[in-house]
Symmetry: C2
Subunit: 290 residues, 2 copies
Amino acid sequence: MRSHILGRIELDQDRLKQDLDYLATVPTVEEEYNEFSNGFWKNIPLYNATGGSEDRLYRDLDGAAAQPTGHAAHVPYLNEIITTVYNVDRLQMARTRNLKNAIVIPHRDFVELDREVDLYFRTFMVLEDSPLAFHSDDDTVIHMRPGEIWFLDAAAVHSAVNFSDFSRQSLCVDLAFDGDFDEKEAFADATVYAPGGTPDIPHRKPFTAEHRERILSLANVIERENFRDVLFLLAKLHFTYDVHPADTYDWLIGISKRAGDDKMVEKAEQIKGFAIGARELGERFSLTTW
Amino acid sequence: MRSHILGRIELDQDRLKQDLDYLATVPTVEEEYNEFSNGFWKNIPLYNATGGSEDRLYRDLDGAAAQPTGHAAHVPYLNEIITTVYNVDRLQMARTRNLKNAIVIPHRDFVELDREVDLYFRTFMVLEDSPLAFHSDDDTVIHMRPGEIWFLDAAAVHSAVNFSDFSRQSLCVDLAFDGDFDEKEAFADATVYAPGGTPDIPHRKPFTAEHRERILSLANVIERENFRDVLFLLAKLHFTYDVHPADTYDWLIGISKRAGDDKMVEKAEQIKGFAIGARELGERFSLTTW
């Protein structure tokens, strides 16, 4: 994987708690990208293109400054972190993200945007320890620890899950550059940049041909009405078995073929293209319309 | 089934649309009973025990009057329906409920409350036609049509689903009585009470022993991490196959036994008891803590 630890900050638990308490009171809304998620996924924009507290769509700012939303003033500690730790000149979007009993299925980001994907620089910091919450990036699964600032390679096939009800609030700060850059330029506070930390990489069970065969036996039960459920079930497997997240889609295609439903095969191939191939800005996808 | 059509009103589409537009702007929050649902389930209280706009917990009023919430004034047409069609003296709670790409798993209501279940009288009216949205009640699946006022036998094993993204906004008016009553007492407007309407009962495919065996083959793929997903997948089957909703739980128990995981068997038996057996007021249940 290309994702890696950029540095680490010591979180002030008392100040953090006040911000977390505010975030918990913000109602959940339907997400811009809710094709990708299942369960409780709550994104709260703190800085974005418009300053709108409900504007959750990531888009290129083209040199304009990111605007604080109405939420930013209610999370003074996180606001301080954003504006003192990170290089706000490069800031595109800052938001808190929480997952509970939920998965964001394997996908690639930025494919619908204009820049070379390598000019987008997504950082991610977990604010609370949630032992059953994981990220994946290509061949690796990560358990992020609070205070670790990660470069998240959102242009790779990646996914996130929280198998539990335990809150996993986090701060996602998106930066973008116009040309070649050094990743230390992501930070205003140069003392924070200390790459090379050893990540917590959970052990995954071996994935065998026999297990693959068991998975393909889902052809026995897949139907159009549960197609989406099967996808989300498959998407979780790579977090506990040593297999690539993109295999999710190949299993779904294989299961659909065994089930002998051409429409299902077509939709499985479409969702693969949409999630990890190319898609247009604002393009939506239905897993349930046939 | 004991659920049946109580009557029908002609909905004023222009006035309704304004109310629906308001309801669409109300953010979704975590639901009191979110163990039961998956996907988009949005309940907005219009009348309840406290008048609190965020108070979604159904409880006995013990003779006190239900209070309008802050939302009631924003839906003047629905408010007029509630206060002129129904017997507000018996009103316990009135709320709008919407499901999209979501299921509420088979369960029984009122089991945690004090009265004889037959003294609770839940009415339900769909406000929009959503062709892939269904209710179930014991042995029957129903496609409700807009304007039909249903007695919903919430004390029976029942479930609801919307297989599509199409909005299925509805008005759920809960009444309660202190002793024997005639169901026409549910209405202030006696002209609305016109039982005996023929419901739209969709055809379901036969459920065979061979299909049951295929379902039990989910033992090949069930794991603690996808236990909840398997439950929700199973819960959908009775909407398209002619089988009782409670079988959902017996399949889950059977699959868990075949998988040979005693903890899973225990949890499957617990969720069965919680959903369709007895539970305490405010009792919660985790499908993901092991």
